[in-house]
Every structure is written in structure tokens, then in C-alpha cells.
């Protein structure tokens, strides 16, 4: 299934420009435990790639192998075409931003930013100029002589980024950089970080477990689980056409059901799910009658009607079981009449008041094209 409306900022790496980072069949085992299993991907110049997954999925291990903090058990990592496996991390020219920021507490902001330049033997005069520029970029010029303890969380975060951006590393590596900030700051930092990344144009790999972060900032997202790379694609690809049940459920809310194909009819296919309901999907041409698959639909694709639902859609009548108010929207859980099947529906609330109440009878409806199916 193709994304309905690809946004303009989504980029896929083009084949003619060599990728900045290549991860080739990388494994990492700790004793008997496999942390990362045969992971491969490329990151193009200037691309913003997200590694996302639940804790323990191997995303941080992968990031640390790229940075040289861990050595792959098997497989190769190339940065700008150079094999990195034996290269000690201080010679890799990477910029790593830690969740704890890891600012040097005994150095001022300017000294922290100067560190990478000093290590590269940049002359003092040039150093001062570049530090001034980068502090200007992150809007911390007047804090140059402060120590990290004298800064707020958001400011520390910006110093942590400034001090690696300043020496123009080949790749910027971010390990849950926003996890230690409170929600409001996190939202504004997300925007700032994205803008900064675009302004500097630096190739970036970003690890997070926060799907909102990934969906809002990424050029491409790599979803990992249990050491495997499950899917790699643009945010709308992984969100709208997940290739596995895990990806479908991990990114955003979804209602999913086990189903059996009952009839194939040209572009449309009918599937029977538990409770005897029939759901219509758009056939990609790969479904045969009798096959088992998983169908799912995003809550925001499901519309509710008090009466006269549209035709040519999947329509069921049900009762609102539960309503959760989310501020900017409301989520309903509807139980389909005569079954135990429930479905989630999301309603944006521009006017402020939910249009339905708990216990109300409604029609749920969504277009067959919005139904995602996964074979197997």
C-alpha cells in the first residue's frame, strides 16, 4: 500500500550520491544474548534517520556501534566509504549527543564547545570564531562563560549539540536527546532541533522510543524490535503501510483484527474477522481466498455518524463503550452491535466539545482504502 499523500520534505536516498553511512549485516551479541541481529541500512548525505523501537530492541546498541562505542560482533560499518570497524572512536569524526548531555562539569560552555576543536588541533583564533558562530546558532552567545550547572535543561541540551556540531562531524548521533526534558520543552526543542539539522545539513541518526518525535522530525524511520530491523521508510510509509503487526501497533494507535479472506472481487477484497464481520479492503493483488491475515485501521481514519453513513465504505453499527478526552481531540472505543469486537475512533475537536457521549449508538465507517492488511 502506498502512502496516500507523500509530504514534500520526505527524501529517499538517491543512488548516485554515495551514502554517508552504511551499516552492513551488523550483529552484536553479549555472551549468549543477541542484541542486534543482521541489521543493514544506509543513510544519505544530510538525511535525518530515526532508529525507533521499544527499550531493549537494539536501537541504542546499533547507534553505539556506529559511533564506535561498541564493536560489532559481525558485519561492517562504513562512514564515507571507509570501513570503520577497527578505527578507534576518537578517529571516526562523529558527534554523539547523550541523553544525560555529558557536558564536562569542570569546563565552561565555551570550553565544552572548544574541546572537539582542540582535539583536532584547530588554531586558537579560528577556534574562537567557530565557537562564537555555533553559540550564535544555538542562541547561547551570552552563556559562553557559564558552567553547565548554571544552565537550564534546554540550554544544556543545546550546548551538547553545539559542541559536536562545531567540528562538523560526518554524522551526528543522538541518543534520546529529549528524554530528560519536560513535555513543553521537549515539543519546542523538537522544532528547534529539526530546524537546526536542516540549517547545518548534517547527516543525523537519532535514537528514540517516542513515536511522535520520530514521525514529526524524521526523513526516514527505521523501526526495530528484538534486535531486528523490521521496516525502514518515510514516516508516512511506516505509519500508513506497516509491513508487520509490530510496526502497525508500535507507531500510533490502531485497531487490528485477525481475518480470513472470504472473497476476492477485482480491486476489492472482503475479509471476515472475528465476530463474523466483513471488512472490505483494497487488494494489492496478493490476496487469495482462504488466506489468513491481519487487518488494521487507524482511529483517525474512522468516522462516526449518528445516522445515514456514507455508502461504499466499511460501515458497522455499534455503541460507544468508552470515551477518553485528550484535550485536542477525543478517542472513542466502540463495540460493534452483536459482537465483542471493539474499534477505536479519533475525533479532532476544533470546537471543543465531543460530538458523541458514552452509551450512544453510532455508525462507524471508513474507506476500504484506509484498511491496512498484513499477510500471515
Amino acid at each position: 500500500m502506498k502512502a496516500a499523500n507523500p509530504s514534500s520534505f520526505e527524501r529517499t536516498p538517491s543512488a548516485d550520491v554515495p551514502p554517508v553511512l552504511e551499516v552492513r549485516g551488523v550483529w552484536k551479541t553479549f555472551g549468549d544474548a543477541v542484541a542486534v541481529e543482521s541489521v543493514s541500512f544506509d543513510v544519505a548525505d544530510g538525511e535525518f534517520l530515526f532508529l525507533i523501537g521499544p527499550s531493549g530492541c537494539g536501537k541504542t546498541t546499533t547507534l553505539r556501534m556506529i559511533g564506535g562505542y561498541l564493536e560489532p560482533t559481525r558485519g561492517d560499518i562504513y562512514i564515507r566509504g571507509r570501513r570503520m570497524n577497527d578505527v578507534p572512536l576518537e578517529k571516526r569524526n562523529i558527534g554523539m549527543v547523550f541523553q544525560s548531555y555529558a557536558l564536562f562539569p569542570h569546563m565552561t560552555v565555551a570550553e565544552n564547545v572548544a574541546f572537539g576543536l582542540r582535539m583536532r588541533g584547530v588554531p586558537k583564533r579560528e577556534r574562537a570564531e567557530r565557537i562564537a558562530n555555533v553559540l550564535d546558532l544555538v542562541e547561547l552567545s551570552e552563556f559562553a562563560d557559564r558552567y553547565p550547572v548554571q544552565l537550564s535543561g534546554g540550554q544544556r541540551q543545546r550546548v551538547a549539540i553545539a559542541r559536536v556540531v562545531v567540528y562538523e562531524p560526518d554524522i551526528l548521533l543522538l541518543d534520546e536527546p529529549l528524554a530528560n526534558l519536560d513535555r513543553r520543552l521537549r515539543d519546542s526543542m523538537r522544532v528547534e532541533l529539526k530546524k537546526l539539522q536542516e540549517k547545518v545539513g548534517i547527516t543525523t541518526v537519532y535514537v528514540t522510543h517516542d513515536q511522535e518525535e520520530a514521525l514529526s522530525m524524521a526523513d526516514r524511520i527505521a523501526v526495530m524490535e528484538g534486535g531486528h530491523l523490521l521496516q525502514l521508510g518515510t514516516p508516512s510509509e511506516v505509519y500508513n503501510s506497516p509491513k508487520s503487526p509490530f510496526v502497525a501497533t508500535f507507531l500510533g494507535n490502531t485497531s487490528s483484527y485477525q481475518a480470513t479472506v472470504s472473497s476476492v472481487d477485482g480491486t476489492f477484497t472482503d475479509l471476515e474477522i472475528d465476530g463474523g464481520l466483513t471488512v472490505r479492503v483494497v487488494n494489492g493483488g496478493d490476496l487469495e481466498p482462504g488466506e489468513n491475515c491481519l487487518v488494521s485501521v487507524r482511529p483517525e481514519r474512522v468516522a462516526l455518524f449518528k445516522a445515514s453513513p456514507p455508502e461504499d465504505q466499511n460501515v458497522f453499527r455499534g455503541q460507544i463503550d468508552f470515551l477518553s478526552y485528550l484535550g485536542a481531540g477525543v478517542e472513542y472505543i466502540i463495540r460493534i452491535d452483536g459482537t465483542d469486537v471493539t474499534i477505536r475512533a479519533h475525533e479532532a475537536l476544533p470546537a471543543g466539545q465531543p460530538s458523541h457521549r458514552e452509551g450512544e449508538s453510532v455508525y462507524v465507517a471508513w474507506e476500504p482504502g484506509q484498511t491496512v492488511y498484513l499477510k500471515g
Binding site: 536516498p13 543512488a15 571507509r82 570501513r83 577497527d86
Partner: protein
Amino acid sequence: MTVVETDLGGYQKTVVDRLAPYAKYLLLSPMILLMLGFFVIPLLWLLRISFYESRGASGFGIGGAAGQEGGGFYVEGTWTLDNYVRFFTDDYFMSVMMFTIGFALLVTLVTMILAYPMAYYIYRAPPKLKTALILIVILPKLSNMLVLVYGLQMLLANNGLVNELIMLVGVSDEPIKLVYTLFSATVSKVLLVIPYTILVITATLHTLDPSLREASRGLGASPFKTFWLVTFPLSVPGTLIALLITIVWALGAFVSPSLLGNPETQTLRSRFRSRRSRT
């Protein structure tokens, strides 16, 4: 997506890179050399000497005279159990040894009885007091033991503060002889031994999960029951280590009795010393 085969040649490893995998052993090597050369091997050497045939001369000949050619009190390259046989059949040595062991056990007992409650007190003390108490406890261990012993001597002397206090309270009209008694010997030796005992037990108590104590209290146990049924049993392993350290120290310290106790409380080691100084 093409695999770009543009490996820019192998990375030239520096000396540091080559040594990096061995870093942890390199860092440990000074300690291992020091420990082997000046602790383990010397101890084994001491053990080996005990199996040499004696040359008849008594004493520990190395200091000065033994340095000369052929000097020393043992015959190289010999193996014998004679020294042990002589030791265990010599009434004098045996009596000294029995006394040393008995005295060490007494010191250990007193030390443990005093150390555990003190350690527990430190463990439960508020932070600032805790730091102060640790300083006070560690002071005797780090101070010069002669200063300590002679300070005690002054304190326990017939005209010392303790006797003045005793007479003031009216327990006795005359000063009680405290110096050169088993009492003073014990008091001084315990003071030399107890600091590490207290610190080891305190450290052990700190390894316990404080929530266990809270849970016990929450389940209705009194503070005393909590200590007896939860804290104490959990602190036993560390306390046993403290006990071991205490016994070793109690057997090992040898100067204080010869300074403070009467001749009967001289331990094997101080006996050994005085023999050496005579030869």
C-alpha cells in the same frame, strides 16, 4: 542501493590502539607487581624459612650481622619440620602461644561486642554526624600507635584522669592499679583493632536495602524485632569478614602489651622481639 567499495585503505593502528585491548591488565600490573614482589612472595618466603634447618643461633639474624657472607640463622636448601616440632614441644613457647591466642580471643570478643552497636549507631546517624563519627573512628587507626598507647597509659595511671574520676565518685578511696594489668592491655589492644571492625560492619549495613527495614516496620514489627529478624541476619556475612579481620589484628598487634601490660601479658610476638634485641 549500491555497496560503495571505496574503502580508503586500512586504518593504521597506533601503539596505543594495539595496547588498548590489554589496557585493563596494564592498569592492574603495577598493583600486581607490588603485591607479588613485596607481599605474596615475602609471605611465602617467611613460610619457607620455617622449614629450614636451624643453624643453632637464636633470633632473627637478618638485621645487620646476618647480612654478612654465610650469616643468618638457617641453612639454605634444607627441608625440616624441626622448627615446628621444637615449637610445639617447648613448654615456654606453647604457654606463650596459648596465652597469645587466649588474649586475642578476649580482644576479639570485646571488640565485636563494642563494634557492632557502634557500627549500627553510625549507620543510623544523620549525614553530618555520620561523617564526624567516621573521622573519630578512623583516627586511632591512622594515628601513631605509640602516641595512642602512651596516651592511654597516662589516662589509666595511678594519678591519671580515670583514677581521679573513680575517687571523685567514691568507688574507691585509693587509686586502683590499672596500668600493666589485663584490663589496660585489653583496653589498648581493642582500641588498636576496633576501627576497621566498625568500618567494615558499617559498610555492610549500608549494602542492605533500606526498604526492607521500612517494609518490616510497615508490616508491624517493632524496631527491635526489625533489627533482630531482618537487619542482623542480613548483616551476618559482612560481620563475619569483620570478625576475621579482627582476629588477624588481635593476633598481629604486638607492641601495646609490652608497653602497657605486665610481663605475663606479653604476647608471642613481643617475646620474639625482646629475644631479637638481646642477640
